[in-house]
């Protein structure tokens, strides 16, 4: 059984982002595996515990530096990795085409795991584009997952207070939500072993991807200004609350 996992190399959540040339960021910051993709790897590793012939292949589209994130995925349970190397980060239309082409060259997928969202570009869409490219069903923001007799049952949030139970046949694509599982962090031996696992590198340009009808390009990037002038309301709780309610009603009119 071939289990592919899409992972993305993203700036650390706590990294200070500096903009250069008005449209990109200084990448001299710590990068991590996209947090949702950790849940994707964990779900794939969970399968491997039951299905002995399962092989987990981590796939990423990124710069040469993304190899570090592939190594993290290998330490978390993937057997080998594929790095689709490019000089500039492509949009999700191209990314999905690239992942599809690389997987197709590699083998026949039974299931593809991805994350619900990448925390840098906040796109929420690559798994669905991959689904159309392969003509596989997709469920994303998945919070529970079960595989039985080559049928997958997942739960995904549909509204406040409501959860949809979705069933789809293999091959299919599953986008992991944060509540899906608790990723286990690799041990030192896991990390040592990951160093020896194979990573294959393919140049994006070599994949001869079909051109997309649409595109999404970053034109400008500016820092979000969000420094507020905190007004500390002094006094005992009763008085402070009275003043707070007055301010909310009269000064900002939000209640």
């Amino acid at each position: 059984m071939n289990v592919y996992v899409c992972i993305k190399h993203v700036p650390d959540t706590a990294a200070k982002i500096t903009i250069i040339d008005n449209n990109r960021i200084d990448e001299k910051v710590t990068f991590i595996i996209n947090p949702y993709d950790e849940n994707a790897i964990e779900a794939a590793s969970g399968l491997k515990r039951h299905i002995t012939d399962a092989e987990i292949i981590a796939v990423t589209v990124g710069k040469a530096s993304a190899e570090a994130t592939l190594r993290s995925a290998l330490a978390m349970g993937a057997d080998r990795g594929i790095l689709i190397r490019c000089e500039r980060n492509p949009d999700s239309l191209v990314t999905a085409r690239a992942i599809k082409a690389a997987i197709e060259r590699d083998g026949k997928p039974d299931i593809i795991f991805a994350g619900n969202e990448s925390i840098d570009s906040e796109g929420f869409q690559t798994p669905f584009r991959l689904g159309v490219a392969f003509n596989f069903p997709v469920a994303s923001n998945v919070v529970s997952f079960k595989l039985e007799d080559r049928r997958v049952t997942v739960e995904s949030k549909m509204n406040a207070g409501e959860m949809a139970v979705i069933r789809m046949p293999l091959p299919c694509i599953v986008g992991a939500g944060k509540a899906l599982n608790q990723p286990r962090y690799p041990t030192l031996p896991d990390i040592m072993k990951a160093r020896k696992k194979p990573i294959q590198t393919i140049d994006l340009d070599r994949l001869n991807l079909p051109t997309a009808a649409g595109s999404i390009q970053i034109d400008k990037l500016r820092p979000a200004v969000d420094q507020r002038h905190a007004k500390i309301i002094e006094g005992p709780p009763e008085a402070a609350v009275t003043e707070l309610i007055r301010l909310l009603k009269e000064e900002t009119r939000v209640i």
């Binding site: 706590a14 982002i17 949702y36 239309l93 925390i119 840098d120 906040e122 796109g123 929420f124 869409q125 798994p127 669905f128 584009r129 689904g131 490219a133 069903p137 997709v138 994303s140 923001n141 049952t153 739960e155 995904s156 549909m158 509204n159 406040a160 207070g161 409501e162 959860m163 949809a164 139970v165 979705i166 069933r167 789809m168 944060k178 509540a179 009808a213 649409g214 595109s215 999404i216 390009q217 400008k220 990037l221 500016r222 820092p223 979000a224 969000d226 420094q227 507020r228 002038h229 905190a230 500390i232 309301i233 709780p237 402070a240 609350v241 707070l244 909310l248 900002t252 939000v254 209640i255």
Partner: protein, 320 residues
């Protein structure tokens, strides 16, 4: 030339989602003909409200067999069908769970660009703004293609009425074979109001200490008509479900009012709520980041302050 714009009209048992009016406002333009796409068959009932906000055509989307029950794949195909029929090339919606499940499918089928969680859209230049890198930057995106899809972040665009006279139409789509099936829709733990769409949120962090103490937040929320949120610490401790987590790996919210109770204000938490119009912090530590970067701060124990707040709000909001 007239541009035909479709808007997914999301509804609940109580009618049209209140946050949708901001989306309709964002979609308007002098040359725009707005189509409201409705799936629950109640178009006629929504006519007054939709035409007040500038919707020209209200389209009931159904199949020959009747209403389309929730199936994101089937809804996406039906929408593509309707876009084609009404010559709609631009689609707007609220960034909600449903939109996040349906719009990317439509975008994928049409090979079209999609931006979710937009804070501004300019159709003349085909650009839109949204946050990136967990709210640390605002990016202006330029879209290319033949169709464009936008999900608007709830509450960021001020709803402005703009009355027109609307026409109600019905559109019958053919059901193609389903790639996935929705077996059931279950009740889920958490709030009745979508966190992302709530105009007011009161959230608790580590200082809540246990699940039971969240009761005081629920009591306050009820008086305010607010939803209750939480920090990751409260979620990881198992006090509340993940659907209540605000932040980088939770929900991004942009309410008119965010009340942070015993939340320190980590970058990851700020990432999810920094665009709130007004932030109130209640914290014992005046040095906490949340206290430094809020609009109004009260230094104090939340277990003292919140019950007083609830009681005072009750009388303050009753004699409005």
């Amino acid at each position: 030339m007239m541009t035909h714009i479709g808007i997914l009209i999301e509804t609940t048992a109580d009618g049209i989602k209140p946050a949708l009016n901001g989306v309709i406002t964002a979609a308007r333009g002098p040359e725009h003909k707005l189509y409201g796409l409705v799936f629950d068959g109640k178009s006629a009932a929504y006519k007054d409200e939709l035409q007040a906000f500038g919707i020209h055509k209200i389209v009931d989307i159904q199949s020959d067999e009747g209403l389309l029950n929730w199936n994101p794949d089937c809804w996406a195909r039906a929408m593509v069908d309707a876009l084609d029929y009404f010559e709609i090339d631009t689609l707007f919606g609220l960034t909600s769970f449903q939109t996040k499940d349906v719009f990317p499918r439509i975008a994928a089928l049409l090979d079209a660009p999609l931006l979710l969680d937009c804070i501004g859209v300019d159709l003349r230049t085909l650009t839109a703004e949204k946050s990136q890198f967990s709210g640390k930057t605002i990016a202006t995106f330029k879209l290319g293609g033949t169709h464009y899809l936008f999900g608007i972040r709830p509450n960021v665009i001020d709803p402005q009425p703009s009355p027109v006279t609307a026409e109600v139409l019905s559109f019958k789509t053919k059901i193609s074979e389903e790639s996935l099936t929705v077996e059931a829709v279950k009740e889920d733990a958490g709030d009745a109001i979508d966190l992302a769409e709530a105009p007011i949120i009161i959230a608790g962090g580590r200082a809540m200490q246990n699940a039971g103490n969240f009761r005081i937040l629920y009591e306050c929320a009820q008086v305010l008509g607010a939803a209750v949120g939480a920090s990751r610490v409260a979620v990881d401790a198992g006090w509340v479900p993940h659907s209540m987590q605000v932040g980088q790996t939770g929900t991004t919210v942009s309410p008119n009012l965010y009340i942070a109770c015993g939340i320190s204000g980590s970058v990851q938490h700020f990432a999810g709520m920094k665009t709130a119009q007004v932030i109130v912090a209640i914290n014992t530590d005046p040095q906490a980041a949340m206290m430094q970067n809020c609009d109004y701060g009260i230094v104090g124990d939340l277990f003292d302050v919140i019950p007083i707040l609830t009681r005072r709000l009750k009388s303050a909001l009753n004699d409005k």
